[in-house]
Amino acid sequence: MTTKIKNLQAPYLDHYGYCVSTDFEVHRNWLAITYSLPVKEWYKNDISQWTLDYPPLFALFEFIFSLFAQYFDEKMLIIENLNYKSKMTVLFQRLTVVFTDLLFAYSIKECLNELRKKIDLKQSNFHLIFIIIFGNAGLLLVDHIHFQYNGFLFGVLLLSIARILQRRNLEGAFWFCVLLNLKHIYLYIAPAYFVYLYRMECARENNTGKVKWLSLPKRNCISLASIVIFVFLVSFGPFIALGQLQQVLFRLFPFKRGLCHSYWAPNLWALYNFMDKFLTVLGLKLGYVADVNRGSMTSGLVKEYEHTILPSIAPIHTFLLTVITMLPCLLKLWKSSNNPWQFVRSLTMCGFCSFLFGWHVHEKAILLIILPLSLLSLLSREETKYFTILNVISQYSLFPLIFTPEETVLKVTALLLHSSLLFSLLEKYWRSRFKPSSFLNMYELLYILGLLFVFLYNQFIHHLLGLHISLPFLPLMITSVYCSIGILYCWFGLYKFMLNI
């Protein structure tokens, strides 16, 4: 029953009748494609600019929904109806998100039941943390206003994590493969799965627990491998048979898109770009640099751009950097056997590294970090601290996604409410264990307060100063850079903590 109550938080945001983002049209288009066209046309069709760029299982998922969509409004299923937005269409789409969030709720409950076995969690705190995870303001904004199915996908992820926490590793693996075939962004965290599952299921140990390198893998290894292969076959099989594998992969991994998205995700590259711009401006002023092409990288279009002063970055650089930064935590995971919570930590760190150093990262990927971290948030004081800071930063960094003035009150109150609930939980939980001392030191508090100033600047002062004409993307850049500093700080702190456990 408590699940149902919390469940009802989600639908509230769906009441956004008319102004929807492009992602809404994207999904409508996919409903239309999967409904009207035979499978072999799914990844070839490009009538709309929003081509299918999620893996096949997601296409199947859209197909199943389209079967229901026809009862709501048949016209949404005609591909040529670009930007079709009737009331029934909006209603249907919103309802699907709400409906799939049920899975999310279930998975959270499963995970929290496991958490309860590890730490002492009173019933009221259980409810609170459920609300905090389920009602993560950033997720709410992205899913229900901006329109995506992240709730559902995180439901699958958390289900997979829950199964691993329950030591049902094979089921965990199955759900993760399904997840990968629903949205390939979860490749970011695949290394953690690979290392953990291999260590647990495949590697043989001798009596003292050391891994025997030169022995045959355990029997479970074969089951594991067959599950993985089975899921991928079900997903990609039809396309391999049709000889379209290359086309599908090309759609899924469009590497041409540039180091950063049009709104720089607050990662290392945002800082890198900023340094480059800063040095360029400095260089121009000091006369060191000849007049260069001033095409702004924050011009809002996704295109490739060469850095002016600092060396250019290619995908291979980001890949190597990501892999290198992931290695220490993966090694630590390998060493700490039989500790599924360590697995959750590595998962978070993998997501973190990929977010910070990856190629063309979306700001929405911050959810990949914050949601697993919310499971860990009560396990230790450090994790609580970094979760608190990261929570505020991540939700603030998602603000630019929701930019119309009508939505300002919503996103501000969502952020404030969520943070406030989090503080309530932390007060209630930690008071009974430790002396109530503040978690954040002065600099961290100042940083978070600084967010308020950034917000005020972006909302009012920028416009008042008249800079919105000459420097239209300054607010976005400031948001990116300010948030990336905080995120890098949290990454560093969490990594240090994790390696020292």
Binding site: L13, H15, G17, P405, E406, V409, T413, L417, L421
Partner: protein, 406 residues
């Protein structure tokens, strides 16, 4: 305290979610709806001199959403109108801006409601429920009453969706109740008069206040004390009235005209469908055909007053805050059922006092809240299907939330 803030934030969040929906009469010329009425009042009050606000003239056509609330509403409209004119003169240009609709304007209007909430309603709720042991013995009971009030969907669906400013008059009313609980009688009187001067529907609550104060002063030790307090109260009330009506005082004809606008006998016994006694009775006896409006008004008045008598007398004999809150509910219920020309929105006047007893009778109050929302469902389903659907969606979560408190 943090819990109260959380509920507040959640309440604001819900209100703003509702505000994203269309308002009443959106895109429906020639008359549009309540939203246009409020906009029109801003237009009238900003452009015309005070004397002409309630009078039919070429500039002020009373048939097109003429002002029919007391002066405080008019002053509030003036304030909003001035801000509106500063933002964009097109919002309030005389005649030309009729039926003006735009995204910016909608945002502006929604913000005005939010401002009232932040300035009046939310502080009022805090005043009433925070640390006020007279209402509920336990802290969690107090908190549940507070949540019931903040999250009652009926109020914000009307205010943010349909578009009105009920939170202003109800907020002032709540302040009056809060002050009464703190034994600040004269202040309570002042705020109640202010609430009354914002919307005349607050008359529903006037009898309980009157009976309570009368009873309380009667219980004073000496007759002289009683008389003294009574006269101070009378003076305070009268003074507040005079302050509110100050600009109109030198013109009796104008005052009568305003009273005619505020109490429209000509409008008839009831409009559309409303859950009042007379409406239900009309199914069998066609009351509208049997009696003239003025006769019917008299019948309503007599029934209402006589039925309110038991509760008022009881309150007079036992002027305690506990009795007061039940009396508020009883009498406003009677008024709702038996008054002349009751709007379905008037159920708000019953629902808000009901939240005072939420900690003691959670189930009944919950049930009542849900029924009151279903009424909106039916009323609005003719106007918009989205509004009806939205009501359903709000009532079910509210249902669950409320049962959680039990």
């Amino acid at each position: 305290m943090r819990d109260y803030i959380n509920v507040c934030l959640f309440g604001i969040f819900l209100r703003w979610c509702v505000s994203l929906y269309p308002y009443s009469g959106a895109g429906k010329p020639p008359m549009f709806g309540d939203y246009e009425a409020q906009r029109h009042w801003q237009e009238i009050t900003v452009n015309l001199p005070l004397k002409e606000w309630y009078i039919n003239s070429t500039d002020n056509d009373l048939e097109y959403w003429g002002l029919d609330y007391p002066p405080l509403t008019a002053y509030h409209s003036l304030l909003c109108g001035l801000v509106a004119r500063y933002i964009n003169p097109n919002f309030t240009t005389l005649h030309v801006s009729r039926g003006f609709e735009s995204k910016d304007h909608k945002l502006f209007m929604r913000y005005t409601v939010l401002v009232i909430d932040l300035l009046i309603f939310i502080p009022a709720a805090f005043l009433l429920f925070r640390n006020n042991e007279n209402i509920c013995k336990s802290k969690s009971g107090l908190f549940s009453c507070f949540s019931a009030l903040m999250l009652y969907p009926g109020l914000f669906i009307i205010d943010y969706g349909h578009f009105q400013y009920n939170n202003a008059s109800l907020g002032l009313f709540i302040i009056a109740v809060g002050l009464l609980y703190k034994n600040l009688d004269y202040a309570s009187g002042i705020f109640f008069v202010l609430a009354l001067n914002y919307k005349q529907m607050e008359l529903y609550h006037s009898l309980p206040f009157f009976a309570y104060f009368l009873g309380k002063f009667y219980k004073e030790n000496t007759f002289f004390q009683c008389l003294k307090k009574l006269s101070i109260m009378g003076f305070v009330v009268l003074f507040t009235f005079l302050v509110c009506w100050f600009p109109f005082l030198n013109n009796f004809e104008l005052i009568f005209q305003i009273i005619r606008r505020i109490f429209p006998i000509a409008r008839g016994l009831f409009e559309d469908k409303v859950a009042s006694f007379w409406c239900s009775l009309s199914i069998i006896f066609k009351l509208k055909l049997m009696f003239s409006n003025s006769t019917m008004a008299l019948i309503c008045l007599l029934t209402t007053l006589s039925l309110s008598l038991p509760s008022s007398v009881h309150l007079f004999c036992y002027p305690k805050p506990n009795v007061f809150k039940y009396s508020l509910i009883n009498i406003s219920f009677i008024f709702f059922l038996f008054s002349f020309h009751v709007h379905e929105k008037s159920i708000l006047l019953v629902a808000i006092p009901a939240s005072l007893v939420f900690c003691e009778e959670p189930l009944i109050v919950c049930w009542f809240f849900i029924i009151s929302i279903i009424k909106y469902d039916n009323a609005f389903i003719q106007k918009f299907t989205e509004k009806g659907q939205e009501n359903q969606e709000f009532s079910t979560p509210y249902n669950h939330l409320a049962s959680y408190f039990i």
